[in-house]
Amino acid sequence: MATQQSRTLGRIAVAPSVIALFLWMIVPLAMTIWFSLLRYNLLDPNPFCSILSPGQLFDEANRCLAGTTNYYYFLTDPAFFKAMTNSLLIVGSVLLISVVGGTLFALLLDQAIIGRNIVRLMVIAPFFVMPTVAALVWQNMLMDPIIGFISWITKSLGMGAVDWFTYYPKTAVVIIVAWQWLPFATLILLTALQSFDEEQKEAAQMDGTPPLSFFWYMILPHLARPITVVVLIETIFLLNVFAEIYVTGTGGRAGNLPYLVYQYGLLANDIGGASAGGIVAVVLANIVAFFLMRMIGKNLEG
């Protein structure tokens, strides 16, 4: 409750951000949809179909209506299926690693250990490393088959070196991405754990609750909400993993949907095809987002 005047002012104050975000969302989306229906290649001008162009902007000479052809080609491109599975693989495995690992780490760091603050700083550090740096450091200095640090260890142990980026590019990308997101999950879950009521812990001790039951019936329900949040946030970012693939040059085999669209558009200059791919990515992301928002909505209300 407040006065009409203050409500009106409130609306006016909210307006600029709403307008900006609305435009940021709708203008590119509308254009992407429009482009996706065109035959539109920057390198392959087609002089016979310039009639459709509304103005001089955007290479009017190269495009004509293509209907759903772009979608047809994009969806039937074997690369699409591969990119889809790669996208899901990256999201799924990194989520699994970071949530399970993050929970365990958080439980460990919540104990009375010596130098806890320093340990925590070390654990969360990778989250602040920019993706391009993470990718380069892992690719060259750690995973290089000849002089990388990991191959030195495996060779010293007599297991021989692994050429990660040639034989296991997807695993390599998942490791790099998980290395950045595990700290995030740990940080969030640890913060949540530290808000756990100390008296509840003591009550459980008085009741003689075994540690595993205590974890299952007390800690896990307490973490349900932060875990939901971690899943939501990570999914948003993980669906859009790009730099790690781009920098390591694993796009051919480990490329996900964003990378494929980038390939279509900025590498092959097929604007129509790339736009169709972009719309497919938007639709997929929305399906995921729909379920996540419902889950989150439920969890955040309570």
Partner: protein, 276 residues
């Protein structure tokens, strides 16, 4: 109240935690160490840990060859610029939603969050073409606008959760004291929210600094920030590990330090206030 912990258990956990933390931190530590080696030591097998010829020459060479400071300057300008403009429209917005909420405020906030879920590739092509045709490619102005819009939902959410904690009675008191809306924002709300605003700035700077997708796609050299600088080391120069390490260390060091300070705020900001 401290729980009684047996010292054996404490030591077990301590050793385990330190070992795992070291493992996770190792890539960063290794990068920093390597940046002080000569190229020969950097590629040595077995690896040299601490006993090598410490040198600072890599930093000089990297600066000289690829002009680190230009990229770093761009990173600073992009991060601060996008944060500044985002705050200008986010503060009134969060104020409106926190202190004169309507029936739709919750929906509006959820909608703002949902714009973050839109995959950038869905917008990449049009933004790229718009940028190209308006001469915005590889300009700081263009990229500031993109980064600002990208992080605006998080900024608004974060400020909203901070403002929510300020009692409405204090703002009402200033209204009774005769402050206009503008004065209320400037003299009462903003100073009270300074800690919240500072954390918001910190988080946004980190996010903008590390943003790679848009900066890689929309810049080439003039406006290119540090992610692009590092990416330029990916192919031929990648063989020079000591220099790559020096470049990497310079690219991540500022944000690593900021990030360590901003842990708590980061949790709050990135979870939209759901975890404090």
């Amino acid at each position: 109240m401290a729980r009684a912990v047996s010292s054996r258990r404490k030591w077990t956990f301590t050793i385990l935690a330190w070992a795992l933390a070291f493992l996770i931190f190792f890539p960063i530590l290794w990068t920093i160490l390597t940046s002080f080696k000569t190229e020969g030591d950097a590629a040595a097998i077995p690896p040299k840990f601490l006993f090598f010829d410490w040198t600072f020459e890599n930093y000089g060479i990297v600066q000289e060859r690829s002009n680190y400071f230009k990229f770093a300057m761009n990173s600073v300008i992009l991060a601060l610029g996008s944060t500044f403009f985002a705050l200008i429209i986010a503060i009134p917005s969060a104020w409106g939603m926190a202190f004169s909420p309507g029936k739709r405020t919750k929906d509006l906030l959820m909608w703002m969050l949902s714009t973050k879920m839109m995959p950038p590739v869905g917008a990449l092509i049009p933004i790229y073409l718009i940028f190209r045709d308006f001469g915005l490619l590889d300009t700081r102005g263009g990229l500031i606008a993109v980064l600002m819009l990208l992080n605006l939902p998080i900024i608004i959410w974060m400020l909203y959760t901070y403002f929510k904690e300020i009692p409405a009675e204090i703002l009402e008191a200033s209204r009774m004291d005769g402050a206009s809306v503008w004065k209320e924002l400037v003299y009462v709300l903003t100073p009270m929210a300074i800690p919240g605003i500072a954390s918001t700035i910190l988080l946004n700077v980190i996010l903008a600094w590390n943003e790679a997708f848009w900066t890689l796609a929309l810049t080439t050299k003039d406006a290119a920030p540090l992610p692009q600088f590092i990416a330029s080391y990916s192919s031929p120069e990648g063989l020079f590990w000591a220099k790559l390490s020096a470049a990497s260390t310079m690219a991540i060091a500022p944000i690593l330090v900021l990030g360590w300070f901003a842990q708590k705020q980061l949790v709050r900001g990135l979870t939209f206030g759901a975890v404090k």
